[in-house]
Structure formats: C-alpha cells, structure tokens
C-alpha cells in the first residue's frame, strides 16, 4: 500500500468522466415535453420497458455496498452472514412477482409515486401514511451514506485519501458526489437509468473475469474451499469459538432462513425499489423482470465466493490507517491480482455501482418527502411543478446529508443505521402489501403494529453485543427468537409481533366500531394495465371535515 496506483486511477477517472457525461446527457434521453413533474423527473415518465427496467432495478438493488460487504462477510465470518445473500435474492423474485404487479396497477390508476401515497389512498389515513413515509425516509438515508463507503473503499485501496489534510483527503469523494448531485438534479431518474447500462456491464465483465481467472491463480477451487474451511474452523482469539461457518450448522438454520426471508420481504418496501418498479411502463414489465433479475443474484453469488478466493490468495485488507478492515478485501484482492489497468476497471465498476443506487435512493427519498410530508402536511395545494421543484432540491439536501454523515461521523454509524433501517422498513410491510389485498386490517391497528415492531426491533438491535468487534451495541442483526429459542433475524421477530398487534388491534377496533378510513381504490384498480385511464381526482386533502382522532 505505498503510493497511488496511477494506471488504475487513470482508468477509474476516465470511466467516471464517461458516466458523468452520460448523466447530464440523460435529460435529452426520451425527452419529455416537460420535466417539471414527479412522474417525469422522479419516475422517468413511467415509461421504461423490460430491458431498461432490468438494468435499472439490477443497478439499483445490487449496490456497491453489497458488492463490498457481502464478500467481506464471507471473508471474515463465513457462510451464514455472507452467503445468505444468495437465497435472499432468489426468494425475493417469486415474492415480488405476486405483489408488485398489484402495486404497479393501483399506482398507475391513481398516480401514486410512493408506498405512503398508496397507504393514504387505501386506508384514508394520514397518520399511517406518515408512519410509512418517515420509515422509508429514515431507512434510505444511511443506505445512501453506505454507497459512499463503497466508493471510499476503492479510493483507499488505490491510495487516495490517506493524507492528514482533511480537505485533500476527502476531495475525490466530494467531487464525485457533487457531480452525481448535479446530474441527478437536472435529469432525475433518467440519469441512473442511463448510467445503469455502464454499471451493470462493468460488473458482469469484472466478476466473470475474476471468477474465471483468479481461481487458477490461487490453486483451484478445491484449494479455495479447503482454505476457507480451515479458516472458519479456527478458534477465534476472543471467545474461543470457531471463526465462522463454512456451511451453516444446525444451530444456524433459523438464522440463515430468517435473514434470507426477512431481507427479501423488506427489500421492495424501500422507496428506491418502489421508485424503480413504478417507472416501468406496464404491469407485466415487473413480472417479466422477476424472472430475469435472478441473473444478478447469480453474479452476487459468484462475488460472495470471491471472499473465499481472497482467503486462499492470502489477501491482507489493511486500511490506510494501518488497521485491518475486512471491507477492503475485494478491492485489495483486485489490486493484488489484476494488472493495474484492469484493477482500474474493477474499481470503476464498484464506484459507478455506488452512483446508480445513490441517485435512485436520493430521488426516492425526495419523492417521499415531497408527496407525503411537504404536500400532505405543509402545502396541500402544491402544484405538480412545485412538487418537482421541491423534490429536486431535497435530492440535493439528502445527498449532502449523507456526505456529511460519512465524513464527519465514524462510518460505523452508517452501518449501524443501515442495520436498523432494514429492521424498520420491514415494519411497513403489513400496511403496504397486506393492504394490496385486503382492507380488513384497521388503520390504527396497523399504526400500533408498526410502532411495536419499530420499538422492539430497535431495542433488540441495540442489545446485540459483539465481543469480537469490541462493541456493546448494534453488534449484528441476529437475536434469540422468543418461544422458538433459536437465533434469528431481529426484523422477522419484530415483523411477526407487528402482525400480531395489527390483528388483535383490528379485532378490538372493529368490536368498538371505530371508523375505518375511506378507500379511494376499487377492486379493478389492482388489475389495471398501461392504457387504462388514470382516475381524475378532485384535489382536496382527506379528512378536512373529519380529522383523525
């Protein structure tokens, strides 16, 4: 780690400039008559076909942080905390196949841009809608910050960012994010849609080359797996238990399954997943994508295995501060084993891989703020143009906040909040997804369930200590499941509790005849497709005459 790798940096900078140009050019791509609406700026005109959606969703869901963190977990802790990403991203698609088409249809009919829009329309509840919106916003913020951590990992391995001068140290990251903010501001969702082509192509190229070339270099797959098995079996210096799992043992089955299922249920509750899905032009675009998106899951699985390749290769991920940092393992493996120019391409794949999700997340968070907080609570009569203006500005604010978050605070904070975000976002599932099928659940029971899930999940996550990492709180996402007695994903336990409260609460509220809200949707709305007319709404805030208790 001495000095800067010039060739790699040059290739990285070149590719970065290319996508910056494309980001600004995207304003003209499928040029709309006016960019001044959330449908255009925030959802790309709701016009993307199967392949654009495939690139966009692939670029959106499989983030740079995923590319850095999954192999890092495989490298440091083994299969349970690393490889669960594979079943997670497989079971994800049958699940979204079932409900995303309905969400697309009802959003198409009523012009919904966020899940909170839908919840408000379906349950006629501003309170429940606010809960969903705030949860989505809070869960997205640390996710954006973590994309920066992905870029930082690359810059650190290249040799940038080591100086003691704070300004010079963070200048590359700052410039990268300022450019991203600028073209997202002008092009909206069209920018990440265009850049996603480059990102995904680079990722596929790099992973395939790596998975073919690296194993021959380190002694073949047999050697790789035996090296991993050996490392995972070795007792840890702190607690004397094995370092990690080569294959999950019987005591880790619940953990593995709940991590996979919980993460899969949660992913499409995030605003950025919803934004990319609603930008599709028809309901079947989403369903077709459910069957072709697993291509990315395959690549993610290969990438996870690179964490074990790094074990066999003897990769030493040491940060510029001289401390070991598992997060650097993949960039370091590339730096050690590839010629400089190809390492540069690999780094660009990760760095550009951070820009696509960061752009979509900031757009999604901005849309959520504009629709469900600004328009709902501050300026009910905001015009379509005003919505777009507010959203564009908020997308800048959100990115600035993420930048400050990562530069000023320890990045462990971003990781902790991301962990919490996953737990939190799953608590919106009953209102959103069950709401797509039934109005049986009462709006206030859903609010109560959400609140219980949030508090329980946060409390449990706070209580997780990790002696190996020397932390007393937020040490991981697993805790003992009450009743079952096995370790499991906290989000899932909180989710079950949330559902129980919602069901019991509904029974009580129905028995006491507490009024349910108005439903502005009809059954046919959930099956609408492109070409079906949009409902023309009288623009009036709900419940003017009858405020919620």
């Amino acid at each position: 780690m001495s000095g800067v790798d010039g060739a790699a940096l040059a290739v990285l900078a070149l590719l970065f400039l290319l996508v910056t140009g494309m980001g600004f050019w995207a304003t003209r791509w499928r040029r709309p008559t006016s960019m001044e609406s959330l449908d255009e700026w925030g959802l790309g005109g709701r016009s993307f076909g199967t392949w654009i959606t495939w690139f966009l969703l692939g670029g959106d869901l499989y983030t740079a942080y995923t590319f850095v963190a999954v192999p890092a977990a495989m490298f440091a802790a083994g299969a349970v905390s690393g490889f669960f990403a594979v079943p997670y991203t497989i079971v994800l698609y049958p699940i979204i196949f079932v409900f995303m088409a309905r969400l697309w249809s009802v959003s198409h009919r009523h012009g919904y841009v966020t899940t909170a829009d839908f919840v408000r329309g379906r349950f006629g509840s501003r309170g429940l809608s606010l809960a969903v919106a705030v949860t989505g916003f809070l869960a997205t913020m640390p996710y954006i910050a973590l994309q920066l951590v992905g870029i930082q990992a690359v810059l650190e391995v290249i040799g940038l960012g080591g100086g003691s001068n704070v300004l010079a140290k963070d200048a590359p990251l700052f410039i990268a994010f300022a450019l991203l903010a600028a073209y997202t501001y002008s092009s909206g969702l069209r920018a990440p849609a265009v850049i996603a082509f480059v990102k995904d192509t680079l990722i596929y190229l790099v992973i395939i080359v790596a998975i073919v070339y690296l194993p021959t270099k380190v002694g073949g797959w047999d050697h790789i797996f035996s090296a991993a098995q050996e490392k995972m079996a070795k007792p840890n210096a702190v607690d004397g238990k094995p370092t990690g799992a080569f294959v999950p043992g019987a005591q880790a089955h619940w953990a593995y399954a709940t991590l996979g299922l919980g993460s899969a249920l949660a992913l499409f509750m995030y605003p950025h997943s919803v934004t990319a899905s609603l930008s599709a032009k028809s309901r079947n675009t989403i369903r077709r994508n459910a069957s072709i998106l697993p291509a990315y899951s395959f690549v993610l699985g290969l990438l996870a295995l690179l964490g074990w390749v790094a074990i066999a290769a003897g990769t030493k991920p040491i940060g510029l501060d001289g401390k070991p940092n598992a997060q650097l393992v993949i960039p370091q493996l590339f730096e050690d084993s590839f010629p400089s120019w190809f390492a540069g391409i690999a780094f660009a794949a990760i760095a550009i891989g951070a820009l696509v999700p960061a752009a979509i997340m900031s757009i999604a968070a901005a849309n959520t703020f504009t629709r469900n907080i600004y328009k709902e609570w501050i300026r009910p009569h905001a015009t379509v143009q005003e919505e777009a203006r507010v959203s564009k500005v908020v997308s800048l604010v959100v990115k600035a906040f993420a930048l400050v978050f990562v530069l000023v605070l320890d990045k462990q904070n971003a990781i902790n909040f991301q962990l919490l975000g996953g737990i939190w976002i799953l608590q919106t599932f009953p209102a959103v997804v069950l709401g797509l099928y039934t109005r049986w659940l009462h709006r206030w029971a859903l609010v109560a369930g959400w609140a219980v899930g949030m508090v329980y999940g946060t409390w449990e996550a706070w209580n997780v200590a990790n002696p190996r990492g020397g932390v007393e709180h937020f040490g991981g996402s697993l805790a003992q499941i009450p009743v079952i007695g096995q370790m499991g994903y906290i989000a899932m336990t909180a989710f079950v509790l949330n559902l129980l409260v919602a069901v019991v609460g509904t029974l009580v509220l129905r028995a006491t005849r507490t009024p349910a809200g108005e439903d502005e949707t009809i059954r046919g709305d959930y099956f609408a497709d492109e070409g079906d007319p949009r409902v023309q709404k009288v623009l009036q805030p709900l419940h003017q005459e009858a405020p919620n208790p």
Binding site: A79, F83, V86, P87, I90, V91, Y93, P94, I95, F97, V98, R109, G220, W221, D222, F225, F246, V247, P248, G249, A250, H253, Y256, A257, G260, L261, S282, N284, R287, R288, A290, S291, I292, P294, A295, S297, F298, G301, L305, E518, D519, E520, T521, I522, R523, G524, D525, Y526, F527, A528, D529, G531, D532, P533, V535, Q536, K537, V538, L542
Partner: protein
C-alpha cells in the same frame, strides 16, 4: 400481451362493474402459485441443503445447490408468468369507473 376477448361492456351494452375482481381461471392461478411457492420453501428449508457432500467440481453441495436454484427459480417464475397471462386476461377499464370513485370520496 393480453387477450382482449372480454370487452368493456357485457352483453348488449351492459356496463362492467370495475369494483370487482376480473374473472380468472382459479385452477391455473393455483398452479402458478405452487410454482412460486416451491423455490421459497426449498431455500428456507436450510436443513435440506446445509452439507458439504456431494461435491460438484470441488464446490460443496451447500454452494452449488443454491446456485442451481437461481436457474430453477427463474424458470419457475417465468412459467408462472406465462400461466398468469392466460389465467386472467386483462379486462380493460373505462372512464365509467371514475364517477364511482369520485362519488366515494
């Protein structure tokens, strides 16, 4: 993409009530449902695959079995998609529904 034999109107100009679920072949929907459920159950049943043997080209069973499911799941989801298209043809919507909706709010 969608079979449009079912028109906007029923027999003799009778208007379709769009506050109903469009008609579907329940049997076919159930088949699609099973196709979607199988991968989920298979992967959540961790005990069925958390072992090292038999290996395939050096890959532990645990690893290659899950990779195999990427392809199986994709194929099953695509099959379910084709089935659903047949099972519930799209029923186009008309402006008539708008009055209903507005009347409710």
């Amino acid at each position: 993409m969608s079979a449009t034999e079912i028109g906007d109107d029923g027999p003799r100009g009778e208007v379709v009530d769009h506050d109903t679920v469009p008609p579907a072949n329940k049997g076919l929907l159930a088949v699609a449902g099973v196709l979607l459920l199988v991968p989920v159950v298979a992967l959540l049943w961790v005990g069925s695959y958390s072992r090292v043997e038999p290996r395939l080209w050096g890959f532990p069973f645990f690893i290659w079995y899950q990779f195999l499911w990427v392809f199986l799941c994709s194929a099953m989801t695509y099959t379910a998609y084709r089935i659903v298209l047949v099972a519930r043809p799209h029923r186009p919507m008309t402006e008539t529904t708008d009055e209903r909706t507005e009347g409710r709010s």
